[in-house]
Amino acid sequence: MAKPKIATTSLAGCFGCHMSVLDIDDRILQLVELVDFDKSPVDDIKKFSAHCAVGLIEGGCCNQENVKVLRDFRKNCDVLVSVGDCAIMGGIPAMRNGIPLQECLQEAYLKGPTVHNPSGQIPNDPELPLILDRVYPAHEVVKIDYHLPGCPPPADAIWEALVALLTDKPIKLPYPLLKYD
């Protein structure tokens, strides 16, 4: 029987959650016994090669590209898990929510106290994805099946969750593993 496939992505996140995935240490060997990684920064596969059992989402959506990727994940994965506070509630990037986008860009590229930008330009290359009016938690864009909080979630929490999902058991985190920080 073919192994189930896992996909992962980092949207508006910092890759910290991915680091935490790697932090399961030698259990990563058990994991590759259990699953194959498909689209993921872990193996640098850029496009889905097959339908996946589980998609792990790090980060919320701060730009058009994030939305596209997230929707692609929804289409190609049976189960989506929001991993980490950014996916769950926007995280640090969401601190700009409530401040008009124009003001954010000005502060970031022109007026901020530490900005050195002699050209006085706000980056605007057509290659750059357009930014959304605010940062959206993943479940506001697509349906998300499970949430694993933490910044990042402890490696053990990720491990417990994955094992539960792959063995069709409900995810039940022991008290010390449910953390928002």
Binding site: L130, D133, V141
Partner: protein, 586 residues
């Protein structure tokens, strides 16, 4: 007129009583068009209360403001009850005539334009308050005249009088009564005898909750304390209710007499009528009635040959529906934010300023005067066993004859609709938004405590109304009017409205109905006072009786969230960066 002059004057008028913050800020607002931070500090000093408490009061009430208002403020009721198609046209016309939007003031500082919650003109909407004066039956044409009259400061002469619309006078409240007859009979009994009479009449409170009036008085009579208080609730803020307005206009003496009777029964010498800010225009007439009653010896010292002293003052509110809730009413009378109190202790034990207090509705007191005049048996011969007497119904909405009907309890919704010309309604809202939406199949249900309880509000919704829009409007009302003290009501109502509007926009999915039901249950069961405990009712009762209206607007989700609109979310960037998004298909 400056601050240094106005504040001490206002404070002196209230004897610098710290529990009269409300009166002082009201006066400052009226004379200076705002209560500035400087004024707040000054008031705090004059009345010896913490500045943060004065700030709390000023920011709580809709009619008070820290920012400068125009010399005249026009407040259009945005209540879904009276704001039909005509209302939207009138709102447009107001903005056009004044050249400003809602929430703004004309550049010359003359006129501010605002929205406000139900002002109790539901039978003759669209309606507005111009400062204190109510203006009814607005049309775009009348808006032009109105604005012209305001500009020329000739509003009083412009003939904008509001209508009466009392269509049916019954035997109790609106019947002729010899002034003082009720009180005379009461004073012939001992206080316990008066309570006995009210209990025998099985009179239930007319303000909505329907608590037996005699029992409440008995509790208060028994409570320890020399000084007790009778408080009349004239806050009438439930959308669709305007009966107290007509009582206070036509038979205010019955109300005051009822209060004096209550005072005798419980051993209170002082009464307060709490009049909602929206009804401030009635104050002069009420004060006149009080004076007349004092002259006639129905109020004042030594009533009934020295058996009873009783007098009444009127306390004005300043725009807050929650103040109708009896413990919030007390907070507001004490000059503070209109925040409900924890019970126990109940007001009958510890109410106004910690004194045992009876709170009753305007209609309850008016009815009491008649019960003491004519006897409990006479009264109980009207209505049904559990709901004795006649009741005033405030009928508004899509019917031929909106207005006030005094009728015995126990008639069916269908009978009432026949009377008011409301046949063909798709729904009748009995008891206001915190009551229930009744569907035509249930029109044979009786109005009364046995079946459909109501403080008297009956709103008729004809076949062309978008009921979910109505429901959303009521939810906005509750969001605006929540006092904010407790979490379920403060946050929950916002979330209910948000999800309802998502469904209305066609973005709802099947799970959203369960989500709403769970949310509504949480708010109803966990909220601190009657506001939150009933605020989800517009949604709850329509989900029960008109579920199809929701289901028809649902969509399939296919894993994407239907309410996330990528294009809309990108518009800020399109504007900021001056380039259009590219949508690739892979």
């Amino acid at each position: 007129m400056n601050l240094q002059q106005v504040v001490p004057e206002a404070a002196a008028r209230c004897g610098r009583d710290p529990s009269r913050v409300m009166d002082v800020v009201r006066e400052v607002q009226a004379r200076l068009g705002r209560v500035s931070d400087e004024a707040i500090d000054l008031i705090a000093r004059e009345l010896a209360v913490p500045p943060v408490d004065v700030k709390g009061v000023v920011t709580f009430y809709a009619f008070l403001s820290r920012k400068q208002k125009g010399r005249t403020v026009i407040r259009l009721s945005e209540c879904v009850g009276c704001l039909g198609a005509e209302g939207h046209a009138s709102a447009e016309e107001l903005q056009r005539q004044l050249g400003i939007k809602f929430g703004e003031t004309t550049p010359d500082g003359a006129i501010s334009l605002e929205h406000t919650a139900c002002i109790g003109m539901c039978d003759q909407g669209p309606a507005a308050l111009v400062d204190e004066q109510p203006i009814a039956r607005l049309t775009p044409e009348r808006v032009k005249d109105l604005v012209a009259a305001v500009r020329e400061q000739k509003l009083a002469e412009a003939g904008f009088a509001v209508a009466d619309n009392v269509h049916k006078k019954g035997e109790v409240v609106f019947a002729e009564m010899e002034p003082g007859a009720g009180l005379k009979h009461a004073l012939a009994l001992d206080p316990a005898g008066v309570i006995g009479e009210v209990k025998a009449s099985r009179l239930r409170g007319r303000g909505g909750a329907g608590f037996p009036a005699g029992t409440k008085w008995e509790f208060c009579a028994r409570a320890a304390g020399e000084r007790k208080v009778v408080l009349c609730n004239a806050d009438e803020g439930e959308p669709g209710t305007f009966k107290d307005r007509e009582i206070l206009k036509h038979v205010p003496a019955h109300v005051f007499e009822g209060m004096a009777i209550a005072g005798y029964a419980i051993g209170a010498k002082e009464g307060i009528l709490y009049l909602r800010g929206e009804y401030a225009y009635m104050l002069p007439a009420l004060e006149k009635t009080l004076d007349e009653m004092r002259e006639k010896g129905v109020l004042g010292k030594g009533l009934g040959g020295g058996k009873h002293d009783f007098d009444i003052r009127v306390q004005l509110g300043a725009g807050a529906y929650v103040c109708g809730e009896e413990s919030a009413l007390i907070s507001s009378c004490e000059g503070g934010r209109g925040v409900p109190k924890d019970r126990p202790p109940f007001p009958v034990e510890r109410g106004y300023l910690g004194l045992p207090t009876v709170v009753n509705n305007v209609e309850t007191f008016a009815t009491v005067a008649r019960i003491l005049e004519k006897g409990a048996g006479w009264f109980a011969s009207f209505g049904t066993r559990d709901s004795t007497g006649t009741k005033l119904f405030s009928v508004s909405g899509d019917c031929a004859k909106p207005g006030i009907y005094e009728l015995p309890y126990g008639l069916t919704v269908r009978e009432l609709m026949a009377l008011v010309g409301g046949e063909g309604a798709q729904a009748v809202l009995v008891g206001g938004p915190s009551g229930s939406f009744v569907k035509p199949e249930d029109f044979d249900r009786k109005i009364g405590y046995e079946a459909l309880a109501t403080g008297g509000s009956v709103m008729v919704f004809g076949p062309r109304r978008d009921l979910l829009e109505v429901v959303s409007g009521f939810m906005r009302f509750f969001v605006d009017e929540s006092c904010g003290h407790c979490v379920p009501c403060r946050v929950g109502n916002v979330l209910i409205k948000e999800r309802l509007d998502k469904i209305r926009a066609g973005h709802g999915v099947a799970e959203d109905l369960g989500y709403l039901e769970e949310l509504c249950a949480t708010v109803k069961r966990m909220s601190r006072c009657g506001l939150g405990q009933t605020s989800p009712n517009p949604v709850v009762t329509t989900l029960a009786s008109f579920r199809g209206l929701y289901e028809r607007r649902l969509t399939e989700s296919n894993g994407l969230q239907p309410d996330f609109d990528l294009n809309a979310a990108l518009q800020a960037a399109v504007k900021a960066q001056g380039r259009a998004p590219v949508f690739h298909e892979d």
